[in-house]
């Protein structure tokens, strides 16, 4: 078994609703499949109920009504699962840390929302902290550097878990970059509202990534990855970007983010 979980001995496998996130849904479905694979290997029964968005873009743009409507939709779609897991600290953080705020002063909702939020987790921290996974059965031939995405790090405490699992990937070397826990400048709509400032921030990040000597950039959030990969590609850097779940699931041989399929062809 690629994992060892004391809780694996539980009678029936926990039912996990995979919240795939808008970006994974649209841009990189393989991250969703990687997440499902990891969850199944960790003894979960995975399903993907029909879903749209967690509401974060609306919430952070000051449109509380839309954010609340979407939150209600997410809760209705997912509340019958034992756990709700997202391959993103940003979306999981939105739900877990901020949904309660959206329903303050609504006594009909508060208990229900709190119970729901308690079940919500970011993927890698769920595998390690809840399912007790200590190693994965995967190989990756390369030197990677890991970027700590802000929401996962600061709202959910995701930091050691991905590094612990990456350490078990055969052939993989982790080379930490300077300021791995500094923002990449994505910030959701921030990057298009203040493109110059966002660019200055991601330029610094790209320089740190390159200086790490890694050939692969990993992170737990597709938004940040698109931002950093897009910058590295624009600069013509030989560093590719992948979601950490792809590597942990042994799916690190698919074309990297924003890379053409043909390059990998024989």
């Amino acid at each position: 078994m690629p994992f060892s979980s004391p809780r694996n001995a539980d009678l029936s496998p926990p039912r996990v609703g995979l919240f795939c996130t808008c970006l994974v849904d649209m841009i990189r479905p393989s991250v969703g499949f990687a997440a499902a694979k990891l969850l199944e290997e960790a003894g979960c029964d995975v399903d993907v109920p029909a879903q749209t968005c967690c509401g974060q873009p609306a919430f952070n743009s000051g449109d509380r009504a839309t954010a609340r409507a979407l939150a209600e939709q997410v809760i209705a779609a997912f509340e019958n699962f034992d756990y709700v897991v997202a391959p993103s600290g940003s979306c999981a953080g939105m739900i877990k840390a901020h949904y309660p705020e959206l329903f303050t002063g609504e006594p009909d909702w508060t208990g229900r929302v709190d119970r729901f939020c308690a079940k919500v987790h970011e993927l890698v921290s769920f595998l390690v902290d809840v399912r007790g996974v200590t190693r994965v059965d995967a190989a990756y031939d390369g030197t990677v550097t890991y970027h700590d995405s802000c929401s996962g790090l600061r709202e959910l405490g995701v930091k050691d878990q991905p590094r612990a699992l990456l350490a078990s990937v055969e052939g993989l070397t982790l080379s930490e970059m300077v300021d791995a826990d500094t923002c990449c400048g994505f910030g959701g709509t921030f990057c298009v509202k203040y493109p110059d400032v966002s660019n200055a921030i991601v330029e610094k990040k790209a320089a740190n990534i390159v200086a790490s000597g890694a050939d692969t950039l990993l992170a737990g959030d597709l938004g940040c990855l698109m931002n950093m990969a897009g910058k590295l590609q624009r600069q013509g850097r030989p560093v590719v970007a992948r979601h950490v779940a792809e590597v942990l699931a042994g799916m690190g041989d698919a074309p990297a983010l924003g890379e053409p399929a043909s390059e990998k062809a024989p």
């Binding site: 795939c20 749209t52 400048g185 959701g188 110059d196 399929a261």
Partner: protein, 490 residues
């Protein structure tokens, strides 16, 4: 300095700042300088996080009973022979200060560092009244001779480099020998000290800010590293303290707790070099001290924040940690924010003081990375408070039209999954086909904000949800067939 507000032009300010080589060089030192020192200081004190909790609680308690503590403070100051003046707004505060100076026939006023002085635009006002204000904090002195505003709340001249300072000194101190050597920072410091020494001696009034006002004793406290504040407040005939009303703290015991988080959060020092307590004017028998002691307590909109959604901002002890850890501040510096208070704390406070119409850019120009909240010694949830401003802006239809429209269209689809899923499926298939060859786009219509600076990845094609359902359906059919075969067996 002037208090011209350029916050509405934040984007232009930022663009200019990003293209300013010397500024960028200076800013590149902010993060490495401050962050490491604060982390080391926090790590060395096991009870640091517990102290932050109690710092938050002290401030919350004070703010909840502010009327009581203001009254007690006033009583105590009076009992010690001093005066307390309440100023409703900036104009009121300027008038109070000017009147005190005029009554004393003051010609020269020395000044310790005070952000309230910047907020009310005091220097311009004093100059116009024929009273010469002289900044005695080195950083403030530098920006005063340059006619600039501070770019940081504790390091006002952090945007400057040594060469710029040398140039300014040669331009302004024309009475000194032109061939003097100013290549070393120590030479610059000595020259500034020499200039300021004379000013300390001739000043009629000394004006300082206050880090804390202590209700139980009527004491004002300043925290400095240069000792200039002490000379400013003890040598002249009168000492005027400028403070906003949230500087109040109940007891000396409370102050000692707050001091333990203040310097550590600000500069990584355990304590600043000087922590000076002032209670009333000179008493008979005192070796020195001012003849008059005045405290001007400024409201300027703050009492309206009490008890409201922004009340937590009034806990701020102006340590600067939030800007020291802010990626946006690191990129553009303090002046880009366009008014007195920069960085995350400014992004919350400025709209409250100058209005959201003028300050709207500031709470929007944040990635919400959360690092400010992570380090704030009084645990102010800065991102949440910035989001509050975004909500206000949205409610009042101040959000720029394209953004508002885009959000509405997206929201319409996201609330209707049956429309959203086929629409996104179609769009992603299209993008995937278009981008298949290169794997990414260097330009995309309507996405210039993104592709101006970075490539956009071509989607893999087909949404995850559609593919998942197709796979599950296939699996279920396989299983059904297998089961059917099993059942069919005799």
């Amino acid at each position: 300095m002037s208090v011209e507000i350029t916050s509405p032009r934040f984007k232009d300010n930022a663009k200019r700042a990003l293209a300013d080589g010397p500024l960028q060089a200076a800013l590149s030192k902010v993060g490495p300088g401050f962050i490491g020192k604060r982390t080391a200081a926090a790590d060395k004190l096991p009870e640091f996080d517990a102290l932050r909790d109690s710092a938050r609680d002290i401030k919350d308690h004070t703010l909840a009973h502010l009327d009581l503590y203001l009254e007690r403070f006033e009583e105590k100051v009076k009992a010690a022979g001093g005066h307390v003046h309440f100023a409703v707004d900036a104009a009121d505060a300027r008038d109070i200060v000017t009147k005190i100076c005029r009554d004393l026939g003051a010609r020269t006023v020395t000044k310790g560092k005070s952000m309230i002085s910047e907020e009310i635009g005091l220097n311009d006002h004093l100059s116009a009244a024929g009273i010469e204000p002289v900044e005695t904090d080195l950083g403030e002195y530098l920006i005063q001779i340059r006619g600039e505003a501070p770019s940081h709340i504790i390091a006002p001249a952090i945007h400057l480099n040594k060469e710029q300072v040398e140039e300014d000194f040669r331009r302004v101190h024309t009475h000194l020998a032109p061939e003097r050597n100013l290549s070393e920072p120590t030479a610059l410091l000595a020259e500034a000290r020499g200039e300021l020494r004379q000013k300390f001696l001739v000043a009629d009034v000394g004006i300082t800010g206050a880090n804390f006002l202590v209700a139980e004793t009527g004491t004002s406290i300043i925290v400095t590293n240069e000792g200039n504040g002490d000379l400013t407040q003890t040598l002249p005939k009168a000492h005027i303290v400028l403070a906003s009303l949230e500087k109040l703290v109940p007891t000396l015991e409370d102050v000692s707790q707050l001091l333990r988080v203040l310097a550590r959060s600000a500069t990584g020092q355990e304590m600043s070099v000087y922590t000076t307590f002032s209670t009333g004017p000179r008493r008979p028998g005192d070796p020195d001290g001012p003849g008059e002691y005045h405290v001007v307590i400024l409201d300027n909109g703050r009492s309206g924040m009490l008890g409201g959604p922004l009340k937590e901002m009034l806990r701020c002890i102006r340590c600067g940690a939030c800007m020291n850890h802010c990626p946006v501040y690191h990129a553009v510096g303090g002046h880009a924010y366009g008014w007195v208070y920069p960085g995350p704390m400014g992004s919350v406070l400025t709209p409250a003081l100058i209005g959201i119409e003028k300050g709207a850019n500031l709470p929007n120009a944040s990635t919400f990375c959360g690092r400010c909240e992570e380090v704030c010694p009084v645990r102010i949830p800065l991102p949440k408070l910035m989001r509050h401003w975004r909500e206000k802006e949205f409610e009042r239809h101040l959000t720029p039209a394209p953004q508002r429209y885009g959000l509405a269209v997206w929201g319409f689809f996201a609330r209707r999954g049956w429309l959203y899923r086929p629409a996104t499926g179609l769009a992603m298939t299209l993008l995937s086909v278009l981008g298949r060859k290169k794997g990414r786009f260097a330009a995309l219509p309507l996405a210039g904000g993104w592709t101006g600076h970075r490539d956009f990845p071509a989607p893999e094609g087909g949404t995850f949800q559609a593919q998942w359902r197709a796979q599950r359906a296939a699996r279920n059919t396989r299983h059904a067939n297998r089961d059917a075969k099993k059942d069919a067996r005799p």
